[in-house]
Subunit: 240 residues, 2 copies
């Protein structure tokens, strides 16, 4: 039984972990989504983030408890779970390629976050909107098309169906979530950028149809994107 | 014989890989630092970054060739090398903790980069200096002290000497480089933030005295920090 600890009100980085747990059918508790009187809510996160002394555990959520082991950092948790549950080949070279892809997808995630918070997470979007507009113009016109071309090319190099090896891996699941998030945040920019990436579009459909994922997506456990998360829909930041 | 490919004019993300290679005494060629007529220089990087089709290999350097295997993403290359050369314990739980720490150090690196380039890497510092000033004020006053407290606390949790297990790992080497870079970039802010982190300071001294590292630091192979890199010294961005 795993225990995942992540902000209860947004999909964010926790969602990449959830997709793996749901796909492999692992038993887990989504701790911070429990009621507060059952140990859930934001206090469950703060107890780990701040501990008895600030910084005692991970710097930021998500956190995963596996028995006595407590680990943080989304790409790290995903790698750990994927190796345990066969969502990545049992080969050091292919595992390194998978990790490379996941870190690159995590870079897209961080860059997307910074389109609406280029200055500081400590202040509101409205207080950094000028810088956000400037950063987003560059993001939707240059970076987003370049990311899409890059990932499409990586799929091509590996035969077109999977990012790693000859079966679905946690990288494909993460790509699914990144594509969904980018479509939510930048509907116009994403449509333009993904038009030339048919393999990426097909991969997204296939992942969404996997048994565990399809059941999850229609369950109440799936959190919708919203304006509290990493992927936010500010029309003024999208392609004109 | 490894082949490392990274921008020849700055330490940047390549330096974390070099420190591992030098510490373990691995044979490697620092490809882009060879003369152009021997296959070096920036063209060696562009050939991998852009390939025959853009995005054919990794999204950005550093790259590592190990025979036929080509991998990218600094924390991924470091993890790969550390496991092969005994710079991380041979235990899945400790390896996950090491990877967590390295990804958090990489977050510090990315955040430091963004203090001088908050809007876009495609334009000069001088064209985004207002946003840079605003972001840096928050970084040196809030983030830098918080990062230092966090890493000091992580050392404390593990006994004070090493980040992982009971011997030097690639995490300690990476922390050494982050501390050196922060000191170069923000001499006043760093001095204030690290004052309360004696174990971190002691770790930095110990890493610098390791045989392979000490020999490397005084060799011409060690690139100094400079205004082209991730860690840049803009006095106006430092603590007042």
């Amino acid at each position: 039984m795993y225990r995942l600890v992540y902000w209860p009100q947004l999909p964010g980085r926790g969602e990449f972990v959830r997709l793996i747990l749901e796909d492999v059918g692992a038993e887990y508790v989504d701790v911070a989504r429990l009621p507060r009187d059952e140990g859930g809510g934001v206090p469950a996160i703060l107890a780990l983030r701040d501990g008895e002394r600030p910084g005692q555990f991970g710097f930021a959520p998500p956190y995963l408890h596996d028995g006595d082991l407590l680990i943080a950092q989304m790409p790290n948790i995903c790698q750990y779970l994927a190796r345990r549950h066969g969502l990545v080949p049992d080969d050091a070279a292919l595992q390194a390629i998978a990790n490379q892809h996941l870190l690159t997808l995590a870079d897209v995630l961080a860059e997307t976050h910074d389109t609406h918070h280029p200055i500081s997470v400590a202040s509101h979007y409205e207080d950094q909107v000028d810088a956000a507009m400037e950063k987003s113009r560059w993001f939707v016109s240059e970076r987003l098309p370049r990311w899409m071309r890059y990932f499409e090319e990586q799929l091509t190099r590996n035969g077109g169906q999977f990012f790693v090896g000859v079966q679905t891996s946690y990288v494909d699941l993460a790509a699914f979530q990144i594509l969904a998030g980018l479509e939510y945040a930048f509907p116009r920019g994403f449509a333009a950028a993904v038009a030339g990436a048919p393999q990426l579009q097909a991969l997204r459909v296939r992942v969404g149809e996997r048994d565990g994922i399809a059941a999850y997506l229609t369950s109440p456990r799936r959190l919708p994107f919203n304006q509290h998360g990493i992927f936010r829909q500010y029309p003024e930041l999208d392609l004109a």
